[in-house]
């Protein structure tokens, strides 16, 4: 009985300790740096799981430590076998099974299904009439970004490197394709790439022969120079050039974006 009481008191305190640790972690930002509403949603999902699981983690960790200390065999005892021999404890097993089923169902409803519903909603066509469309083409090993609504075929910086400019507080629709625009006749040249901007909080693979989409809502003016997590990074291994499939991203105000568009068009017109 005394073990149960002591353990329960310790469990509550260790749970609180874990809650505090996770709270600090969440406060600091589990995703380190976020620049879209999608990334913030993801962070919330992580935070929810951590908060709910804190007592569970505390239970197992404390149980391990408590057992090691409290029930360790001392040489002086002189006996080999434990005095307590029991095969089962229906109450404990019942609570354990019900809680583990309950927690998993909870996590399936929220955050899994709820956050996914939000994501699916953000992908619905009727909600995306005003989206900025960016066509992304991945080849080995280079990104191409074009803006069909603005007539920009291949967004480049002054050095001729691909660059992604996005306006802030806009829905962005990325249209993702994998092929080699210089060798469109070669069916073997396309491989699977992964389109990821770490600060945006989600990624999609790009499959040769398929057109895939990714939607984000930018929430912050930022750029690669502000935080290196604001970069396009290929995440699916695509050959030796894989680590070099990086492109800087700039999220700018609406005016700055228009200015950049004009500048790009002037450059492409030359």
């Amino acid at each position: 009985m005394i073990d149960l009481v002591v353990f329960t008191v310790l469990w509550v305190s260790v749970s609180l300790l874990f809650e505090w640790i996770f709270h600090t972690l969440v406060h600091y930002g589990v995703y380190y740096y976020t620049a879209t509403t999608q990334a913030v949603d993801g962070e919330h999902a992580v935070a929810f799981i951590l908060y709910v699981l804190a007592p569970v983690i505390a239970f197992v960790v404390l149980m391990l430590v408590y057992d090691l200390i409290r029930f360790r065999a001392r040489k002086s005892d002189g006996v080999l076998r434990s005095r307590h021999q029991f095969r089962t404890n229906k109450l404990f097993i019942g609570i354990w099974v019900l809680i583990s089923i309950g927690l998993n169902l909870l996590f399936f409803v929220h955050p899994s299904a709820s956050a996914l519903e939000q994501m699916f909603n953000s992908e619905q066509a009727r909600l995306n009439r005003q989206d900025l469309e960016v066509d992304v083409v991945a080849r080995q090993w280079q990104w191409f970004f074009s803006y069909p609504q603005y007539g920009i075929d291949d967004a480049q910086d002054a050095n001729g490197n691909s660059i992604l400019y996005l306006p802030v507080n806009r829905n962005i629709k990325f249209v993702l394709r994998s092929y080699d625009p210089f060798h469109t006749y070669a069916p073997y040249s396309g491989v699977i790439h992964g389109f990821w901007i770490p600060a945006f909080g989600l990624k999609q693979d790009i499959i040769p022969g398929e057109t895939r989409y990714m939607y984000v809502h930018t929430s912050k003016v930022t750029s690669y120079n502000v935080n290196p997590m604001v970069r396009v990074q290929c995440t699916e291994v695509c050959g030796p050039g894989h680590p070099f499939m990086v492109a800087p991203v700039n999220v700018v105000s609406g005016n700055d974006f228009q200015q950049w568009v004009n500048q790009q068009k002037k450059m492409e017109g030359q």
């Binding site: 307590h84 095969r87 097993i93 399936f108 909080g201 499959i207 290196p228 291994v237 990086v246």
Partner: protein, 623 residues
């Protein structure tokens, strides 16, 4: 034989009767002959192409197959399998010394030790590859490896050898072969020849994958994703072939162990009394039997796709098909790795606590349900490239599989509660393993959530997660089992101080490395990159230092283990006062386990009952 030999033993007569090369040397020799004949036939005669080199990817496939057959025949299959099949008497003399480990053997304990040694060799080869990777990642630019291909080949070699020669093999082929017949009171496995062959396929696989760069680099990592694999130089052919050898090895051993557990149990060892480890091996073996043929067919398709070549998985085929069928096997694979580890917790803790196993039936249920669920979760590896409507079902089953997984914790924690827990190295390692798997499980629940998965997929967060489950749970449990059964294997006992030093060393280094993997993944470190942005360098540098510490920790344990095996303090039989049958026999490799056969009188996990668990049967009782 002539009558001169009538007065000496049969085996000596045979040894004097014929001379041959040592089997391993003969195997290598026959392998070389097989390779040169078939490779020449294919590349110079049947499939002759002007200006093609002597070894082409078509010829090497056939040449390798011939070499593997030559090797297997050379190390003993010729005498043990082929000739007896055609009616000759078995003329295979296994000397009773170290040489028996360098030839095919029908003794399950010899096969078990061969498996363990080969598997540990694979672990250290792949571990060396990991060390090279961590060396490269100390800096954000390319400085250890000459090209990214070299780095990526190393990544692939590391993953492939770890998964297929250690993760899948050590607890099944190694401990399983040695211990399962003992634990169920049998003198032999059901099909000793099958295990003998399968053991000698394992080194073929390890060597093939480790030497794959001699054919050319391959960049896909251990998953061999098409269509990238179609572009890779010929090294990828050795990846397919090596994995084929290793998976065949695991498949054969699983068939053997399943049959052994089903049909070779001692009298009185009813289904109710099957030891937990045997349940674990049975579940993992059934997984192997279900899923290994599937991945082998996939790899045969991928190999044909590559060497014919065919456009199956390219842009004009279906690139996703390869991924689907790969993960259809790939996720059950991790349960093949971890289910025996769960069983080990439930095997070791009642002994160390000298307390009746708690909720045994839930433990068995957990193992079996993990096994059955494992085929329903594979596509959570594909949240980034599947249709939206597939996400929720796979997310659902992935989250639900943590329920039966939790039963392993339920049983283990319930068993140690109010036990009289001896704080030995195996206990400590099991506790560490449970802690690590808890972290692996929590990160697993996160990864099962599609929205979180879309951020963390293909980053070091995932790498951290699966190392927590595989090293954290399986390797730590393996170490626990290794120390636990060391007195059984060698008759000698390790020193608790040094055993614990080894355990704590590995535990601290492991958590320092892979805990930080989780963080650096969230911070933007993606996989398969020898070159990464500057801001990740400090953290990577520090991770690498801990990784070297981890590597040295494993090496320390290995060296200490071998030392104890040879020079440790001698110990009596059954030093842990365990009740399972392997401790009721002191048979060394080459000796009969139970003579006369035993009859089991009760289950092995009831520590309130002082009566003996088994008794020798009188000859009349043997049926």
């Amino acid at each position: 034989m002539s009558s001169i030999f009538a007065d000496i033993s049969q085996s000596e007569a045979l040894r004097r009767g014929r001379r041959m090369l040592p089997p391993v040397v003969r195997g290598l020799f026959w392998a070389a002959i097989g390779f040169f004949i078939v490779n020449t036939l294919v590349s110079e005669v049947l499939d002759r192409t002007p200006l093609a080199p002597y070894v082409t990817k078509v010829s090497v496939t056939f040449g390798w197959t011939a070499a593997t057959c030559g090797w297997l025949l050379g190390v003993g299959a010729w005498e043990l399998v082929v000739k007896p099949y055609f009616g000759s008497p078995v003329e295979w003399d296994v000397p009773n010394d170290w040489r028996r480990y360098f030839m095919m053997s029908l003794d399950h304990k010899v096969v078990g030790i061969q498996y363990m040694v080969t598997s540990v060799a694979g672990f250290f080869i792949a571990g060396l590859a990991a060390m090279l990777m961590r060396f490269e990642l100390m800096q954000g630019n390319l400085w250890t490896f000459p090209t990214p291909n070299a780095y990526l080949s190393t990544v692939g070699i590391h993953g492939t050898i770890m998964m297929f020669s250690f993760g899948t093999v050590m607890l099944v082929g190694g401990f399983g072969n040695y211990l399962i017949p003992l634990m169920i009171g049998s003198n032999s496995s059901a099909f000793p020849r099958v295990s003998a062959i399968s053991q000698w396929l394992l080194p073929v696989g390890i060597v093939t994958v480790a030497l794959s760069p001699i054919l050319g680099t391959w960049t896909t990592g251990w998953r061999g994703y098409a269509p990238l694999a179609e572009q890779d130089p010929n090294g990828i052919v050795f990846y397919y072939l090596g994995v084929f050898a290793m998976t065949t090895s695991s498949l054969l051993v699983s068939i053997n162990l399943t049959a052994t557990i089903l049909f070779q149990r001692a009298k009185g060892l009813t289904w109710n009394r099957i030891p937990m480890y045997a349940w674990g091996i049975l579940a993992a073996s059934l997984l192997n039997i279900i899923w290994l043929p599937e991945i082998q067919m996939t790899f045969i398709l991928a190999l044909l796709n590559n060497i014919v070549p065919l456009p199956m998985f390219s842009q004009i085929g279906t690139p996703l098909t390869y991924m689907e069928v790969f993960w259809l096997f790939g996720h059950p694979e991790v349960y093949i790795v971890v289910v025996p580890a769960f069983a080990l917790w439930q095997e070791i803790l009642p002994v160390m606590g000298q307390k009746t196993l708690f909720a045994r039936s839930w433990g068995v249920l957990g193992l079996v349900f993990v096994m059955m669920f494992s085929g329903l979760v594979w596509a959570h590896h594909m949240f980034t490239n599947m249709r939206n409507d597939q996400m929720l079902p796979f997310s659902f089953f992935t989250e639900m599989i943590s329920i039966p997984t939790g039963f392993a914790f339920l049983v283990s924690l319930g068993t140690v509660w109010k036990s009289r827990l001896r704080l030995t190295t195996p206990t400590l390692l099991v506790f560490m393993s449970m802690f690590n798997f808890l972290i692996g499980g929590v990160t697993g629940v996160m990864l099962a959530d599609p929205v979180i998965n879309l951020q963390t997929h293909d980053t070091f967060f995932v790498v951290g997660h699966f190392h927590y489950t595989i090293i954290g749970a399986m390797v730590f449990s393996f170490m626990a089992a290794a120390y636990y059964w060391l007195p059984r294997f060698s008759g000698r006992m390790y020193n608790e101080f040094w055993g614990k030093v080894g355990a704590i060393w590995v535990f601290i280094a492991f958590n320092a490395v892979f805990g930080q993997f989780l963080l650096i993944g969230l911070r933007g470190m993606n996989r398969w990159v020898p070159v990464y942005p500057k801001y990740l360098q400090n953290m990577n540098f520090e991770i690498s230092l801990f990784a070297f510490l981890l590597g040295l920790g494993f090496l320390f344990n290995l060296v200490y283990y071998i030392w104890v095996w040879r020079y440790g303090k001698r110990v009596d039989a059954n030093p842990w006062s365990a009740k399972t049958l392997e401790w009721q026999s002191t048979s060394a490799p080459g000796e009969t386990n139970f003579d006369p056969p035993v009859q089991v009188l009760m289950g092995f996990y009831d520590y309130s009952d002082e009566r003996p668990v088994c008794k020798p049967t009188s000859p009349a009782e043997v049926s």
